[in-house]
Symmetry: D3
Subunit: 140 residues, 6 copies
């Protein structure tokens, strides 16, 4: 990732990444960047800048499409958790996420849905623990 | 499919099927029913009655999830076309469908997106021809 | 899962679940029920009650079909282990399971078979350890 | 395929191929042999001779495993039809085949099951037409 | 595809497309462009310009990787044929293509390899017929 | 694996296994052999002896094909790592491996590429740690 090439695509991609995934987005991309810096750029420039940031479909619909696809493919637990978190960030509710995953049992099979729901359950628990921890620290 | 067992699930499933897929929905189910009548019932009762008709997620979001999943799985051309048609029926625009399929290139790979877009292109053409034909008949 | 709605499907599904998976079956469903109670119901009512409990195919054949499918799909290690355990519960031998998994190398590829056989090996070891532990406790 | 190398594996594989697929088996292998003769040999020697012909699992169970796997993978219509035909050849009934495919809706998703059932329906119709044709010729 | 935006990525992508796929490459992209012009641009700019044209791996290795992946995925017959043709264009022999596809039987399963080899056989025949036709016309 | 049946296929397979995977190859096969000895033989005799050892395609091309396929399939992390290690053993550079995996983002989707690159990053780190450890011991 060359700092000087902060092109329009890069800026657009970064903004979409930030809006959906918050600070965690940059972390995930940075981690990928240590292995394959150019691919980390592709992720921002192409996946987020050229595709996600396109105006023709609202962000909620895009995120639903991604969560559904990852659940149906059934082999991307980490990425599914990351994108469910992104879904929550932009206002999709936990209950709506659960609905999407239940529906994917019809398209990707029950085992894929069970794995997706288990991943969602773990994420929700992690978020609850983090929130409780934060609350505890605020009280202190 | 026993006519007498027009249970609540059946009725709910039939209505969801009709709302999304119109008269074509019944045709597809009837065709399946000639091979495996019980599974045709499962499709209505479970897939449509128990899952699609659930209140926790709006129909537009459900249909986007299905179209995205079928495009990403990349091996279900006929069903993808059927569900894109269903998406159009409930008010998702052709341009929005194209956006979903372009986005699936990121999740299911470019070849899957090319196949999905080709299927969408064929469907749009079929619909245009049918519409033109109907118009021609109305004029006569 | 509403206790009052102990319908015929539910009862039939529960019995099939118990016959194949024993007490572990209820545990797995209960765990899923904490994340998505309705989907846990679907698993019992639809997957077990409407499908597995159907009379047209013997239980041995059904369980072989499931183990084969999960091994060939190659992305469902936990569910494969659960269903191999179910296979053993209903009288399919360890050697027969190994035969099914070897055969899946032809249909799902060698890497999928290696993963499935590794999962089976882990399960067999877990069962041997549990059996030895039980024996030790009986002796005490 | 060198005629002189009629090894034990080859003989065992050919016999398994013949028992399951009848004369059609040789045709399919011959067609493949015009493109990749060595791979046609692998199919006989490895898939049929080394795997299918193994004694540790009965033929019915093996064929059920194969039909289930191909249906769940959902992208192998021709091979699925070929193996359903093989299943019928060794005494698995049409109704049992339908049961396996319905069950695969749970593991590979409803769209995969719909495709598999459609393929089965086509095959059954082809077989009925061929049988009727044969009957007509016998009468003449 | 805006003619004025003939950027460096576009030019690099176009050249890679031309080198591998010849005039057929432009045709395929043009066909896709009638359905989704922006995605046709992505194919040239991203898939060919940003990825295929990268200097770190020779073209032969890149094309082998693509043919192998499409064969193993097992659901992309048209794209596999297109990329096998590209492989032949850049000097990979028919026999080498066959070797790659046979090898994919180990990784994607025998049915995927049979489908890939059948697709290759069809392509080789189409190319032979086209070459014979051309020869006949040259003679006339 | 019977020591006495050191047939030509076995010897050829063992040599290919050793050349690509070094001592680790035997370890992996031995581990598999404790679960399913016959399948461990199939891996050596068929996958390595009958397929990998074939003369019609150079070893570099074969290993690229395998790494590409496993990355695109996206569900075989352990086997991908093993085969990337094999690729390094026969002279494919780390940078070339990264290029293959980036390219697979186009064919198997970005999430599959992210998983593959993460696996490669872990392997490279493990190899660096092992090399540093060895160096430290040589110094002592």
């Amino acid at each position: 990732m060359t700092d000087t090439d902060e092109s329009e695509r890069r800026a657009r991609g970064r903004q979409a990444l930030r809006e959906i995934h918050g600070p965690l987005g940059e972390e995930v991309v940075a981690r990928l960047g240590r292995i394959a810096p150019d691919f980390a750029d592709h992720l921002i420039d192409y996946a987020f800048g050229d595709v996600y940031a396109r105006p023709g479909l609202d962000r909620r619909s895009r995120q639903i499409a991604t969560v559904a696809a990852l659940a149906a493919l059934g082999n991307a637990e980490q990425q599914l958790k990351w994108h469910i978190r992104g879904a929550l960030n932009i206002g999709i509710s936990r209950d709506e996420v659960i609905e999407i995953l239940i529906q994917m049992g019809v398209y990707g099979g029950f085992p894929a849905a069970v794995r997706a729901l288990t991943a969602a359950g773990e994420l929700f628990e992690e978020l609850d623990i983090a929130a409780a921890e934060e609350l505890r620290q605020d009280d202190a």
